[in-house]
Symmetry: C2
Subunit: 414 residues, 2 copies
Amino acid sequence: MRSGGERLEAYARLAVRIGANVQPGQLVGVSAHLEHAPFARAITREAYAAGAEYVDVLFTDQHVRKAHIELAAESKLGYTPSWLLERTDAIGRVRGAWISITGTAEPDLFADLDGGRAGRARMLELSRLMLDQTDQALVNWTVVAFPNEGWANAMFGEPDVERLWGALSHTVRLDEPDPIAAWSEHTERLERRAASLNERRFDALRYRGPGTDLTVGLLPEADWMAAVDTTIGGIRHVANMPTEEVYTTPDARRTEGVVRSTRPLVIGGTVIRDLEIEFRRGRVVEARASTGQEMIRTHIDSDDGARRLGEVALVDGTSRVGRTGLTFFDTLFDENTTCHIALGGAITQAVPRSETWSPEERSARGVNYSSIHTDFMIGGPEIEVDGLTADAGAVPLLRDDVWLLEPAGITVAD
Amino acid sequence: MRSGGERLEAYARLAVRIGANVQPGQLVGVSAHLEHAPFARAITREAYAAGAEYVDVLFTDQHVRKAHIELAAESKLGYTPSWLLERTDAIGRVRGAWISITGTAEPDLFADLDGGRAGRARMLELSRLMLDQTDQALVNWTVVAFPNEGWANAMFGEPDVERLWGALSHTVRLDEPDPIAAWSEHTERLERRAASLNERRFDALRYRGPGTDLTVGLLPEADWMAAVDTTIGGIRHVANMPTEEVYTTPDARRTEGVVRSTRPLVIGGTVIRDLEIEFRRGRVVEARASTGQEMIRTHIDSDDGARRLGEVALVDGTSRVGRTGLTFFDTLFDENTTCHIALGGAITQAVPRSETWSPEERSARGVNYSSIHTDFMIGGPEIEVDGLTADAGAVPLLRDDVWLLEPAGITVAD
């Protein structure tokens, strides 16, 4: 067993070498909360060791953000500092790398805030700029999480950080003798699964279960992918650690029916529980939740695309995240427990050449455009997922969380 | 006695209302180390309460900086991110406010680093931009300190934060029933002292004591001032809390002799002890130190002005900082224990209109220009300070740390 310091170092190495895959001479932007400082420091050292030219760590603090939401003038809630835009733009200009650290220390910190103000206190221009940058594959990037007391407390009711480390280490394969080799094998398996879906070219997916009867239309030109991307400069990187999903960009005009979220989700520090959404002709016409309802309603009013789907992802019961049996209250993990969909901007990598389309052209072709991208979980053993063919035939994809579709002739290791 | 939370709130109010004197509608930049988070949060709330439009807290981390000094390529040591320049410039453009938090948590963190690399790892362009901004009085600003365990440990050999709070509260007059009124009275007293020096228009100051025999030429057009400034927009602010000094800009061409520092100083995390400097015709020709010698030598090679004086300041034994009997290992405090001088950029506010002069014109007129401004302490009960008149007459200013010069007819309260 590794010591705490060695574990952190090995984890930082995984984030830098496999996740962002930092190259010599790259400018590296790291985003962290104050509580992530030990990991941010370890990542900084590993990034310099990988040859980074300069590592810029932007520490943000949820208490400072809370003061802004509570106390700033209404007209200044969405204020975006020019220097944050310049930071993002500058790293894109030089084809730099991003490493984002997640794992909130106080998941309920914003619970007592006015949901409307919290929803409006977003730097839309900045998130649009970041989405454009990843759409255009300018930067190699990853999102990784750092266990901390507050997060452990939210998950377990006690600040058992070691228990969280144990769960997390399993999901990011740090518990393997050779984590780097384990990641190689794992991403290859996900890429084979994506290939098996691409062979079939389903016209739509159908989800059925308690509170859910949803059909999501697919685009004939969209590919299924694993969360392994390649930049325009040819740098392969793993965008999420952990990742267990295969995903594609759905047709934003063809979502119909109702869906009940099977896990809580967190938006800007507010927990949304028991979310139920109804879609008609691709558009959310109703959103209800037992907590955070005002937040989700403000959120889907962010812009025209915020009420349509930009992603659909499939995850089965072999997921290491799902197998922990835990709710992490963090999308990075919870989206990898089970099937999910996302409101907001499409993942253009899944639709060849769509990153060059104007927002109007994207809308016209069903590739959603928005400043938000918000995943929520809709899968689990009670949910049946079918692939629908153009002639309305149904192929079972998931039953009891078991993946049923494999390409002929390929044996997949568990 | 106030509770910890009330004390922090009262302190933040002092920093915001008296220190920076934040005005409604202002953009406020706060600089903090990670260890200053509680104070940065309290300041953020007070600044919004004072009507700030947006409060941007930039958290920096000494461990991240250390990794950069240790591991970055030599050619990238002085790398300055464009977004940090933009942040500073943007706040100047809109006539915003700055609040800088000091109080290092690990004063010896950089002790094992290569002093040359540490010296070269400075964002010169950024510090030049900030000095230009304060020279031009665009922004209302203050520097305040936050007690923390590491700092207390460096001072007392144990992490006695309450003891540090006690000492600090006295120096910033938080222990007064009405700290805001106490500050008014205190700054008026310092301003009267500056006025008494301005009446005399000394030609030079002379310092004599163990290891010290130094004459610093003064500029006929320079004024003595207290650390109370007024921006071009008319906002009065207290630039340092605590402050006990009166200061002026000396003639950078007329420093002669040797001086021994009477307290340690810290440059970029490196402690410089037992500093001895020799000046000829205004220029440092020799610098020695028992620790940090390489750092100070690299530092004075930063640019042409780094070897000349930009400030001379007088502090007597009534100083609340001096009376604590403590060495704080932080210039904000240690420079207010006793008399000091500074290598590097002049304080242009002390020389009317000099902020509009080009670097060349400044040099020609003895108003030093540099990207550094580094104070070190040269006073104490063993040091005799005289004001020299143009005809070489000597007027005693300080003996045994007692201030001897008062304008006729004014009684000064202790």
